[in-house]
Subunit: 444 residues, 2 copies
C-alpha cells in the first residue's frame, strides 16, 4: 500500500469510528424497552432474511472448499464457517435470549448522602464504542451485535476474510432492521473488511473504548500488543484438576474425564491432573484407564511412572506443565500435599479455572480461597466456567485479566459506571474551611 | 549503563517483583482483623519513629534547598517534599482511617444456584502486586501502603529521587512494623531507588498486576506507553461548569468560583465556563467580576466579548478549550442551548467531571444521563469529585479510564473478584446431553 492509500484507509476507519461514537451517544439515550424491542425485531429480520444469508454463506463456502482442497484451510475452520437453516434459527433465538436479559444499564451500584441535600449515586452506563475482531464463525455477528445493543454500545466488527459475504449479509440485515427505528442510528454497527483496517482500528483510542479479540491465542496477543485501546481478550487456558487425598474416587474420575474430554478444544478444559500421593495408588490406575478408554493420550510424571509401571503412558516433561494442548492429551503429576498442588498451579496455571476434588471441606476452602484464578471450583468440572452455564445468558469471552472483567464476560463487561451528584449549590470551600462537615451516610 | 549492568538491574527488579508476588499470596490469606491490626500498629510505629523520619526528611530538604536556589526545583515541589511534626501525625491518622474502613475483601458480589447442589459465588479478592510510581510527596508512602495492605495486596513503590531519604525511612519503618507479625512477609512492601528501576518494573507483567502512576500528565503518559502491565492513572482534568438558562444566579456564581479557585492545581477544578445565551447578559458581568476579584484571568469567546465589551477579559482561542490550565485561568463560552454545551464538553472534555447549574430538573436529568464522564453533577462544584469527599475514606487517584475503575479510586480499585463454584461431582456432559437442566436461580 502506498503512503497515500494508507492515509485514505486510515481516514476511512477514523470516520467509521467517529460515526460510531456519535451513534453510541444516541444508543445510550434509548430506554430499556426500546433496546429490547429492537433486538426482538432484529431476530425476526434475521429469520426473514434467512435465504439471503444462506446464499451469501454458500458463496463463502464454495471459496472455502477450494481452500480446504488446497490444504490452506482446516476442515474444522470450514465447519465453523458453514451456516445452516437451523443455524439461522439459532442466531435468532440467541438474539431473542439477549433481548430478554435484565437491563444492564442504569443500575444503582451505590448511593451515599454526602451531606444534607448532597447525594451521590454510582450508576451503570454503556462503555461507548466496542471494536470486535474475530475469526470465522459468522454467528458471532448477531451474538455480539445483540450484546452491544442491549448494553447501549455501538460496535465495529472485523471478521475473517473467509466469511466476508456471510458477515456482510448479517450486518446489512441488522442495519436494515435498525433503519426502521428513527431514534437508532444505523452507524451503531459497522463492518470493516480488510486486514489493514484492523491496525487502523487499534489506533482509534479517541473514539473506541474497548477492543475484544476473539480467536487464537497468537491473534489475541497480536491485538493486545498493537492496540492503543484497552483490550479484553480470551486468555490462555491451562486449567488443572487436583484430586485431593480426601477425594471421592467416583467424583474424581467423572470430573477428570469431563474436564478433559467433554470438549478438549475449549479454553476451560483441563490440561493437567494433579493427584495427592496418598490417593494415587487407588485413583490413578482406574482414572488413567478411564481417560485412555475415552481416547486421551496420558503423559505422566516420574513418580506416577514408578507407581504405574509400563502402562502405556508417555513421560511428561517440563514443557507439558506449561502447554495448553487443546486436544485429547492430559499430563499427570503426583504431589505430596495441597500446598505442592497450589504451588504447581500458581507456577504453570493461566489463572483461568482450577478445581479441587475432595470431601474435606477445609482443604476445599483453602484451595478456593488461596488459588488466584478467575474460577475456583470444588467437586465440579472445569468445563462449567462459561457465561451460559454461569447464567449470564450469553458470553463475549472468558477473561483471564484481573482488571474490569474476570472470567466469563457477559453484558456487565460492556458497561462502566458514572457518579451522579445532586446538590443545591454546594461548594467545597465550605467543607475545606470546616463550616460544614460530610455525613457520608450510605443509602440503600 | 552497560548491557551487563542493565541485566543485573533487571534481575534485581525481577527478584523484587517475584518476592512481592509470594508475599501477596500470604497477604491474601490474612483475615480482616489481622490486616486492621497491622495498620493500627503501623500508625503507631510511624508516630514512634517520628524523629527518624524528620531527620531523613531534613537531609532531603537540605539537598532540595540547593536545587531551589539553583532554580532546578520549584518552590511548590519543595513545599510538597517537606514533612513536619504535624505531617507525621497526619500520616498516622490517615493510616488509622484506612484501618477502620470496611473490609473490601471476601464481599459476595453475586450468588446463583446453577442447579441443585451447584452454587456459584462471585467474591471480591486482592489484585496481587501493585506497582506505584510517584513524584515527591512522601506522605504517599504510608497512604498507599495502608490502602494496599488493607486490600491484601503487596506493593512496590518508586518515589522521586528528591525524597529518597524520607521514603526510605518511611518504608523501613513500615517493614519494621511488619516484622513483628510472623504471618506477614516483609516483602509485602518494597522501595525501588533508581530511575532505571521504573522501566524494569514496567516489564514485570508476570508478577505485577497493576501499575499506578501518580504525577504529572506527561509522567502518566510515559508510564502508560511503556508498561506491559495494565495502568490506572490520573488522567487529564478538563472540567466544565455549564450555567443553564434556568440557573439560579447565586448558585452559578458560587459554583463557578469554587470550581475554579478553591484549588486550581487540582485535576477536578474547572477550566471552562459554558453559559446559556439566554442567561449570559444577567450572569456573565457579575460572574466574571467575582472571578476576577478572586484573581482569575478570564479568557472569553467572541460572543461574550460582544456582550461584555472591553471589560479586561482576554480573547479565548481554540487552544483554550483544550487546555488544562491548572492555574487561576478560566475560559468562557456562550452556547445557544444545552445540546451545544454537551457537544462542546464531549469534544473538549477529558471525561473527568462536568457540572450543570440549573433549576430545571429535566435539563439536569438530560445532562447527567447523556454526558459521558466519570462525574456528572447537578448544582454542585466540580471539586467534590474526590475519594475523600465521596466517602471512600482514602483515594489512590482519579481515573478517567472507563475500564475497571472510573472516577475517584479507593480500596475497591485494588480488588478484583473470583468465581467460586461448589458442586458435588457435577459434569458438563450431563447438561450438554440434556439429562440435566440449569436452574440459574439468583440467591441473595
Amino acid at each position: 500500500m502506498t503512503k497515500e492509500t494508507k492515509d485514505e484507509a486510515q481516514t476511512s476507519v477514523t470516520l467509521v469510528a467517529q460515526r460510531a461514537r456519535v451513534a453510541a451517544r444516541a444508543l445510550a439515550r434509548l430506554p430499556s424497552e426500546c433496546r429490547t424491542e429492537i433486538l426482538m425485531a432484529a431476530a425476526q429480520t434475521i429469520e426473514d432474511a434467512g435465504n439471503e444469508i444462506l446464499e451469501a454463506n454458500a458463496r463463502d463456502c464454495r471459496a472455502a472448499e477450494t481452500s480446504v482442497a488446497a490444504g490452506s484451510m482446516s476442515s474444522a475452520t470450514f465447519a465453523r464457517l458453514r451456516v445452516t437453516k437451523q443455524g439461522i434459527a439459532q442466531m435468532a433465538a440467541h438474539v431473542r435470549g439477549v433481548a430478554q436479559l435484565p437491563d444492564p444499564l442504569g443500575k444503582r451500584l451505590a448511593a451515599t448522602e454526602l451531606d444534607d441535600g448532597l447525594v451521590l449515586y454510582k450508576e451503570s452506563c454503556p462503555l461507548g464504542v466496542i471494536g470486535i475482531v474475530f475469526e470465522s464463525r459468522p454467528d458471532a455477528v448477531p451474538q455480539v451485535a445483540a450484546l452491544a445493543l442491549k448494553s447501549g454500545n455501538a460496535i465495529i466488527l472485523k471478521g475473517g476474510a473467509e466469511a466476508a459475504h456471510t458477515n456482510e449479509a448479517l450486518v446489512s440485515v441488522w442495519r436494515k432492521c435498525l433503519s426502521r427505528f428513527p431514534s437508532v442510528p444505523q452507524d451503531s454497527i459497522h463492518l470493516l473488511l480488510t486486514r489493514s483496517d484492523v491496525k487502523d482500528l487499534l489506533e482509534q483510542d479517541r473514539f473506541v473504548d474497548l477492543i475484544i479479540p476473539r480467536g487464537s491465542q497468537a491473534f489475541v496477543r497480536f491485538v493486545s500488543q498493537n492496540s492503543k485501546i484497552p483490550v479484553l481478550g480470551h486468555g490462555e487456558g491451562i486449567c488443572h484438576v487436583y484430586v485431593d487425598q480426601a477425594a471421592d474416587i467416583e467424583k474424581a474420575i467423572a470430573i477428570s474425564l469431563d474436564s478433559k474430554v467433554q470438549y478438549p478444544a475449549a479454553c476451560n478444559s483441563a490440561e493437567t491432573l494433579l493427584v495427592h500421593e496418598a490417593i494415587a495408588s487407588e485413583f490413578l490406575p482406574r482414572g488413567i484407564a478411564t481417560l485412555r478408554n475415552a481416547g486421551v493420550e496420558v503423559r505422566v510424571c516420574a513418580r506416577s511412572r514408578a507407581l504405574l509401571g509400563k502402562d502405556g503412558s508417555l513421560e511428561a516433561t517440563e514443557k507439558d506443565w506449561e502447554t495448553e494442548y487443546s486436544d485429547l492429551i492430559l499430563s499427570v503429576k503426583i504431589v505430596s500435599n495441597l500446598e505442592e498442588a497450589m504451588a504447581h498451579i500458581h507456577r504453570y496455571g493461566s489463572g483461568h479455572t482450577e478445581t479441587i476434588v475432595t470431601e474435606n471441606a477445609e482443604a476445599a476452602k483453602q484451595f478456593l480461597d488461596e488459588i488466584d484464578a478467575a474460577g475456583v471450583f470444588h467437586n465440579a468440572s472445569t468445563r462449567f466456567s462459561d457465561g451460559f452455564r454461569y447464567g449470564f445468558g450469553s458470553e463475549l469471552g472468558i477473561s483471564t485479566n484481573k482488571l474490569h472483567a474476570r472470567g466469563p464476560m457477559g453484558l456487565e463487561g460492556l458497561t462502566t459506571y458514572k457518579y451522579k451528584l445532586y446538590g443545591n449549590g454546594q461548594t467545597v470551600a465550605a467543607y475545606a474551611k470546616g463550616e460544614k462537615k460530610f455525613k457520608h451516610r450510605r443509602l440503600e
